[in-house]
């Protein structure tokens, strides 16, 4: 008996306004599980890697997984897969909140959105009923207003939408769900905007089937105990949220500051997680079925809303040289309401600040100009003034002004809050990430800084590739379940495999689950190669490769990427140009895709 998975794929063509439903291929489900893995496999069949991401030929694939809505800890997440308009790579982004659970309850494992509507529409998916509605009156609305207007009800009816940034086809536009959660990275909001699709509302009643319910209930109980026993998931994340990371990354000299010109921020105390908790925290809150509750509700004199997370605080703070935490919180709030990716937005503004300070750009943007954050974000979302150019991310912007080297991005995706010169393995991870500079495709923070599960030398080069690959494969597996990676701090992959077995009735071993991750990683790589993204894009900005850190604990270091990369390709079973070898594809069951 196989269960767990929602059984149907919903396929909507906005050009012809047709709606189809067909059953999930269960062999595909077994091989790719769900979420990111299933999305990648479906995209492989549906979208030619050469298409323009903003054309009608691109698709949006929303997926959940076999654990979604089961009640297992953090089983609330869902994914979107598409071809990225920012990077040209395959893109997966996932998000928490409540929408994913409700989507699963409509009885669908995946929603494919094809084509382009003639005029703005929104989609309503109810139990056994799908409707495409006119959205002319909704076009132009900001995220929070629109979410309320379409009847957001946390546990019954959930809204996913784009904001003005997605409508204006900003290549760093996010898709927002439940108001302030984001499928943030790589510009999926622009793909949705290009389809004239404003929102997707879900309302369902189906309960997931669980094959071995007794075993599942016991594992739920065990996981609750493990998460409660871990000081990470029971103390640090609930009390301080992710922003607690600012101080330690700054302390070791790996916090990108002023567009990576420095690696420590002298005003860290003004913007750190401890200060956020002391002066701005209203309460913490949680996604569906999450006992960790890392989300912050923060307040300033002007606004109250979710966040800011570590990455957002850093992007608008240290990276822009801004020490005004009120302005950072408000910038985060504005990004959510406009539907912009906070990391890409902050890093793009930081890039413009450096261009301005060096005289390459005529603007008022300067490091530390907290007052310009929110107005610049508004300009970006609506493509007004300089915002029209900033709206497509730092690489296009810096290239336009003759200095692409000042874009702190990999494959065009702005890197997050770790300077690769102070964490050599993290640099390799960024350079090889299939969606560009990203910390969610694996993260070396645990091993290189926190000692989780053990400490390895952050400056060591030799031998790093095996750790990076393990983390990349593991993250792809967790993204395919789909669960929050924070559960992994209290519960191991071995545990996930047992839960997956209990829910589906298929006996997954830990190694098999990690192999799912490896399969997904290699399939994504194949897609990128066909899109023309090769080993030449497995690199880092010249600043990180050539400019030694000037001061602090990482002083004198550059990223020694080249030897790590060679070792990485070899360990992955790829050739020297980063192409998976036939025997590797054979072992992963992917060989038939390249015949």
């Amino acid at each position: 008996m196989m269960s767990g998975w929602a059984q149907n794929i919903l396929d909507i063509d906005l050009t012809s306004r047709t709606v189809k439903t067909y059953p999930l291929d269960m062999e595909m489900a077994r091989q790719f599980v769900g979420g990111r893995g299933l999305g990648a496999r479906l995209l492989w069949d549906l979208v030619d890697p050469q298409v323009d991401p903003l054309s009608a030929e691109n698709v949006l694939i929303f997926t959940n997984g076999p654990l979604t809505a089961t009640g297992y800890q953090t089983s609330n997440r869902f994914s979107v897969t598409t071809k990225s308009p920012l990077t040209g790579t395959i893109l997966d982004a996932n998000s928490g909140g409540f929408w994913g659970t409700q989507f699963r309850r409509t009885g669908h494992i995946a929603l494919i959105v094809r084509g382009r509507a003639e005029s703005p529409v929104w989609i309503e998916i109810l139990q056994d009923q799908v409707a495409i509605h006119d959205a002319a009156h909704l076009w132009g609305m900001r995220v929070l207003e629109l979410t309320r207007a379409l009847g957001q009800d946390k546990h019954r009816r959930n809204v996913l939408t784009i904001g003005p940034a997605g409508e204006s086809l900003s290549r760093i536009a996010a898709i927002m769900n439940d108001g302030e959660r984001a499928l943030a990275r790589g510009g999926p909001g622009a793909v949705m905007g290009a389809k004239n699709l404003k929102a997707i509302v879900v309302e369902g009643k189906e309960r997931p089937e669980i094959v071995d319910r007794e075993r599942f209930k016991f594992m739920l109980y065990e996981a609750r105990k493990l998460l409660a026993a871990s000081p990470l998931t029971s103390q640090a994340l609930p009390e301080f949220g992710t922003a607690v990371m600012l101080n330690i990354v700054n302390n070791i000299g790996a916090l990108p500051t002023r567009n990576n010109q420095q690696t420590q921020f002298e005003h860290i105390e003004a913007i750190c997680g401890e200060t956020l908790a002391e002066n701005h925290l209203v309460r913490n809150t949680a996604c569906w079925a999450c006992p960790i509750a890392c989300t912050r509700i923060s307040r300033t004199d002007k606004i109250e809303g979710e966040g800011p997370e570590f990455e957002s605080t850093w992007a608008f703070g240290a990276q822009c040289g801004v020490s005004d935490l009120d302005a950072i919180i408000e910038a985060n709030y504005v990004c959510n309401d406009l539907g912009l990716d906070t990391i890409s937005a902050g890093v793009t503004i930081a890039c413009a600040m450096e261009l301005s300070e060096k005289g390459y750009l005529d603007s008022d943007l300067r490091f530390g100009r907290a007052d310009l954050l929110a107005p610049t974000l508004e300009q970006m979302a609506y493509r007004h003034g300089l915002g029209a150019e900033l709206s497509d991310g730092s690489l296009r912007f810096a290239t336009q002004y003759g200095h692409p080297e000042l874009s702190m991005s990999v494959k065009g995706l702005e890197m997050p809050a770790y300077d690769a010169r102070g964490m050599q393995g993290q640099g390799l991870l960024f350079a090889t990430s299939n969606r560009g500079g990203c910390h969610m495709r694996g993260n070396m923070l645990g091993l290189e800084v926190l000692g989780l599960p053990k400490l390895i030398d952050r400056f060591q080069v030799q031998g790093k590739s095996s750790y990076v690959i393990l983390h990349q494969n593991s993250s792809a597996a967790i993204d395919s379940l789909v669960l929050c990676k924070f559960t992994n701090m209290g519960v191991s992959e071995e545990y996930f495999a047992r839960v997956l077995s209990a829910v589906t009735g298929i006996p997954y071993a830990t190694g098999e689950l990690i192999q799912v991750g490896e399969r997904v990683w290699n399939l994504e790589r194949l897609y990128n190669l066909r899109a023309g993204i090769t080993h030449q894009q497995d690199t880092l900005p010249p600043r990180l490769l050539n400019e030694p850190v000037a001061s602090g604990p990482s002083q004198g270091w550059v990223s020694h990427l080249e030897p790590m990369l060679k070792e990485y390709y070899r360990t992955r079973g790829w050739d020297e140009r980063g192409v998976p070898k036939p025997q590797k594809l054979q072992s992963l069951g992917l060989a038939h895709l390249t015949d």
């Binding site: 000081p231 990470l232 103390q235 009390e239 990371m245 101080n247 923070l445 800084v449 400490l455 604990p553």
Partner: protein
């Protein structure tokens, strides 16, 4: 005297963000913290105490290397509870 910096909930337990301590090595630092700051001492003896993250002048220390690490007058020791995120 070495400067000891506290982070996250350790600030609340220590009642301060930082302090100076005369100590020849890291072991002495932790022993003095336990004796001089009872609330922090109780935490250090608990479950999380064995999983502290300690940096010396910005370099993470490997707990497996032990605590007999000599300290100089100008050294900065940063002590974090078990934390994670990203």
């Amino acid at each position: 005297m070495a400067v000891i910096k506290f982070f996250a909930n350790l600030r609340r337990l220590a009642g301060r963000k930082e302090m100076q301590l005369p100590a020849e090595n890291l072991r002495q630092v932790l022993e003095r913290l336990e004796s001089e700051l009872p609330a922090l001492g109780a935490y250090l003896h608990g479950n999380a105490g064995g999983r502290l993250i300690i940096t010396l002048n910005g370099h993470p220390l490997d707990p497996a290397a032990g605590l007999d690490i000599p300290l100089a007058e100008t050294d900065q020791v940063a002590i974090f509870p078990p934390i994670a995120g990203g």
